[in-house]
């Protein structure tokens, strides 16, 4: 069952739309993620689901109840949503326990205590109930903010860049931890981030937004391997688009040579296309006669990401384990490991 359903949602002021014609659904217990660069409208979309921004067109349904439409705006406190804010927004005048029980203040006090202790245990901060927010570290505040949002058992949990103010190493471990916690509580959640690693670590479904539009809503795997839009291909992972021509025998002629795959459309011989080539499509193989020169390299820890120039000057990326490294300017051989072609109509990538 779809717990969260957005249908052609448009949010904006005056002439400009911040969110433009966005539709997607999230099933019960699923974790969704909105990805995109700063200013793409993802936070505004999240806030419109929370009820802080009205929609101009379209509709938002939570648990099959219409909560937002041009004619109707259910206020945030009546939506059964929880929200974790970017700066946590803990109440500084309340203790940790009072912060967590804030949303369940109508329950009996024994129920409140029980729920607070249970959540403190879940987020690994048992015994911190009497402290004040300013006595906690950033990561601890984050967990308390999550516990506070979970306490009333909302139907949907919204998370706005929840890890962005934390250190990089903490960010990754906490993302995995939070996913485990959300799954164990069976919470349907929607997360906003600009960090694709975070999205991959957390999400069952993810969408890439650009200038207010949802370009693709899919599993993270599909977003990486089957992008339907060149901007998605650009935003997710590394990769280049190579200009190619479709040949008479349904192959694509590119600077890398002839590529073949089952996606090449019929009756399209002679058409120009752009082919997505990811670093993991290319294998460095000295024996190969496809030669290239290293023109850039970046250390990535476990591996190096090389920029290599083909004979005609076209540059692509490839990777190799970091214990074996090539120096700048050296010549290497490349082998292709492409079993599936991602094609876009030519010319889009220049805009």
């Amino acid at each position: 069952m779809n717990l969260l359903k957005l249908d052609q949602v448009d949010v904006g002021f005056g002439k400009s739309s911040i969110v433009d014609d966005v539709s997607f659904t999230l099933a019960e217990g699923e974790i969704g993620c909105l990805l995109g660069p700063s200013g793409c409208g993802k936070t505004t979309l999240l806030r419109s689901i929370a009820g802080f921004e009205p929609v101009r067109r379209g509709s938002i349904e939570i648990n099959s109840r219409l909560v937002s439409s041009p004619a109707q705006l259910i206020p945030p406190e009546k939506r059964d949503v929880g929200m974790v804010f970017q700066d946590f927004a803990l109440f500084p005048h309340l203790t940790v326990a009072d912060n967590i029980s804030f949303g369940i203040r109508n329950d009996s006090s024994s129920e409140q205590i029980q729920r607070v202790n249970q959540l403190l245990q879940h987020v690994g901060l048992a015994g911190y109930g009497n402290r004040y927010p300013h006595q906690l570290s950033g990561g601890q505040q984050q967990r308390i903010a999550l516990a506070r949002a979970l306490a009333p058992r909302p139907r949907v949990l919204l998370l706005d860049e929840p890890f962005s103010s934390l250190d990089a190493d903490l960010r990754e471990s906490l993302a995995t931890e939070v996913r485990g916690l959300l799954k164990s509580e069976g919470i349907t959640a929607l997360l906003v981030t600009h960090d694709q690693q975070e999205a991959f670590a957390m999400a069952d479904k993810a969408g890439v937004m650009y200038h207010g539009r949802m370009l693709q809503w899919d599993t993270p795997y599909e977003l990486y391997h089957e992008p339907t839009h060149h901007l998605v291909a650009n935003f997710i992972g590394h990769g280049v688009l190579l200009r190619g021509t479709i040949t008479a025998d349904q192959k694509v002629f590119t600077p890398l040579g002839l590529l073949h795959g089952d996606e090449v459309p019929d009756n399209s011989a002679g058409e120009l296309v752009d082919v997505l080539v990811r670093p993991d499509d290319i294998i460095i193989d000295e024996a190969s006669e496809r030669r290239a020169v290293i023109v850039g390299k970046g250390f990535r820890g476990a591996h190096y990401l090389y920029t290599v120039a083909l004979v005609d000057g076209t540059q692509i990326y490839c990777m190799s384990p970091s214990h074996h490294q090539y120096s700048m300017g050296s010549e290497i051989g490349l082998r292709l490991n492409i079993d599936h072609l991602v094609l876009f109509p030519a010319g889009f990538c220049e805009t």
């Binding site: 904006g12 002021f13 400009s16 911040i18 700063s38 200013g39 793409c40 409208g41 936070t43 505004t44 929370a50 009820g51 802080f52 206020p75 945030p76 406190e77 939506r79 949503v81 929880g82 929200m83 804010f85 970017q86 700066d87 946590f88 927004a89 803990l90 109440f91 500084p92 005048h93 309340l94 804030f102 949303g103 004040y132 927010p133 300013h134 505040q141 506070r148 949002a149 009333p152 909302p154 919204l158 860049e161 962005s164 600009h194 960090d195």
Partner: protein, 580 residues
């Protein structure tokens, strides 16, 4: 001379200078605190001698109970009223958007330009038997004198009202800053946790602003304790009027000192509360976001209600008193050109300019001392020297005149003995004592301004100047001075205006027959020649408007900064902070 020896010599002279500095700073701070030390000592000495104990017992028996009662009622009344007026105005002008709100935002600061005693004079004039209000009443009803009851403004209730009208902007200003800095997310979090907008205000926004409100109220209460002009004019016995009466009426200096020391201890309690609440508000602003709450649009009846709620304090605290002053000033146009009035202005200017220059120079010297030698000792000295801001002028005046009179007596004794000349009261009988008292009272104003200006000049700026080949003189003239210019000017103007408004210390310490605008307004009002006090009072209020303009500019700048992201919703997304 080799470089090594030169460097050695330099370091020796450098050490000598820094040694001198590190001890001269605490020394100056002690001198500035001398009046406080004298008053505090009076409290303990009062317990020693039999005679002093007797004085204290007498005071306790006859007057102190009444002083404490009146002071307490005054503080509770003012505390409640300024909280109501200040917090509601701060909330409405921060989170609501209605017609006239941007005008109200700065107009609510205007009452700060009005010294409480001047507001008291204007209300007495407006509400007196001959005044416009009762006149209108009689005209409408046909009543005559004695036919009707009219509440007397010259009462404890009247003093509470007048003091609240002029002091609520302290609460307004500080609480508003707290509301602005509150993260929008805190309110929104409360909404997602099931609270309506009204509930969010009571349960989240207001508790979060509590330390700020407490700070504002304690500042207002400090001013209430320090007030002399209002309570004196309304005939209410409090500690400040009691000190005057004991000193001049009964010629009992020890008694006056002891009363001053009790008042001082009340002030110290308030200062401690203020410090604590300031520290708490640090925590309470934790987790602030870039976005402030989007103003809630009010229309129709609710907009009118909000406007009236914010307009009444402006009307009562500024517009009505100012209109009364203007009326008096135009009725008495001849006063403006009297040589006596011009002498008043001249005297006031001499005092205000002299005191502001001295104060700013001392503050500058102390602040640079702290920058050069940031030891705990120098920092403590600065804090010590800044205590004066909270101390009532009466207390400072008493604390100044006692040691100065003692010194003068010694001087006269020696000079008569060795030179056979009586120099007169060199210290306590001249404007020297007055300038010193102003220095004690207003030093913290300029220290704060200059210190914040100086903190904008990072050490890295000095160092980049050095690397680019500037010597220390050039660093001062080409880096520090241009950057510090505004702070210096602001500090000078703030002290200048404060000195113009200051009444009780000037009354006690002025040389014989030396009148200022404030003193003359006080005397004329005391003689029931209110209208003649108009021009002098108007001058003081006009000067008082200058710092209000500064404040409202600073507030506007802050408002713009905070609302950048809200004005155009599109920008909110664009300015979203770029995360690494």
């Amino acid at each position: 001379m080799t470089t090594a020896t030169r460097r050695h010599q330099l370091s020796i002279s450098g050490q000598a200078i820094s040694l001198l500095r590190s001890y001269s700073l605490p020394f100056v701070a002690t001198v500035i605190c001398l009046p406080l030390i004298v008053v505090a000592a009076a409290f303990f000495l009062g317990l020693l001698g039999a005679e002093q104990r007797e004085t204290l017992a007498h005071l306790w028996h006859f007057v102190i109970g009444e002083y404490i009662w009146h002071t307490l009622v005054l503080m509770i009344g003012v505390g409640l009223l300024v909280t109501m007026m200040g917090v509601s105005a701060a909330w409405l002008t921060t989170v609501c958007d209605f017609k006239g709100v941007s005008w109200l935002r700065w107009s609510l600061l205007l009452p700060l330009a009005m010294p409480a005693y001047i507001t008291a004079y204007t209300y007495s004039g407006m509400l007196s038997f001959e005044g416009p209000v009762q006149g209108l009443l009689r005209e409408l009803t046909g009543w005559q004198f004695g036919d009707y009851f009219f509440p007397d403004i010259r009462s404890l209730t009247g003093a509470i009202l007048v003091l609240s009208f002029v002091l609520f902007p302290y609460v307004y200003l500080i609480t508003r800053a707290a509301f602005i800095e509150q993260s929008r997310a805190a309110i929104e979090a409360a909404r997602t946790l099931g609270l309506s907008p009204t509930q969010s205000f009571w349960r989240v926004a207001l508790p979060m602003a509590r330390p700020a409100i407490a700070t504002g109220v304690t500042l207002a209460l400090m001013e209430t304790l320090a007030d002399y002009g209002t309570v004196q004019y309304f005939g209410i016995t409090t500690f400040t009027t009691g000190i005057f009466r004991t000193w001049y009426g009964m010629n009992d200096q020890i008694g006056a000192l002891q009363l001053a020391s009790i008042l001082l201890s009340a002030v110290v309690v308030l200062m401690v509360i203020e410090r604590i609440s300031r520290r708490q508000s640090q925590y309470h602003s934790a987790g602030r976001s870039k976005h402030s709450v989007r103003p809630f649009k009010l229309t129709g009846f609710r907009a009118a209600l909000a406007f009236v709620a914010c307009f009444i304090p402006v009307l009562l605290g500024f517009i009505l008193p100012a209109l009364q002053l203007l009326t008096w000033s135009f009725e008495r146009l001849h006063v403006w050109l009297q040589p006596e009035f011009i002498a008043l202005i001249r005297n006031s200017l001499i005092l205000a300019i002299g005191a502001s220059i001295i104060t700013v120079l001392v503050a500058l010297w102390l602040c640079y001392g702290k920058r050069r030698i940031p030891t705990p000792l120098t920092r403590a000295s600065i804090n010590f020297a800044s205590l004066g801001y909270a101390i009532p002028g009466v207390v400072i005046a008493v604390g100044v005149i006692v040691p100065f009179a003692w010194l003068d007596n010694k001087l006269i004794y020696f000079s008569e003995r060795f030179f056979d000349i009586n120099p007169g009261l060199l210290l306590s009988g001249t404007i020297f004592a007055l300038l010193f008292a102003y220095l004690v009272r207003f030093l913290s104003v300029s220290i704060q301004t200059i210190d914040s200006g100086l903190s904008q000049i990072s050490r890295a700026m000095d160092e980049s100047g050095e690397i680019l080949g500037l010597n220390s003189q050039q660093i001062l003239s080409r880096i520090h001075f241009p950057l510090l210019k505004t702070s210096l000017l602001t500090a000078t103007i703030l002290v200048f205006v404060d000195v113009l408004k200051e009444l009780p210390a000037t009354l006690i310490l002025r040389p014989f027959n030396f009148n200022t605008l404030a003193v003359r307004a006080y005397e004329l009002a005391g003689d029931e020649r209110l209208a003649e006090a108009g021009p002098a009072a108007l001058m003081i209020v006009l000067a008082g408007l200058i710092p209000v303009i500064f404040l409202s500019r600073a507030m506007q700048a802050r408002h713009n900064r905070n609302n950048q992201a809200v004005v155009t919703p599109k920008a909110e997304e664009i300015y979203e902070p770029v995360k690494a």
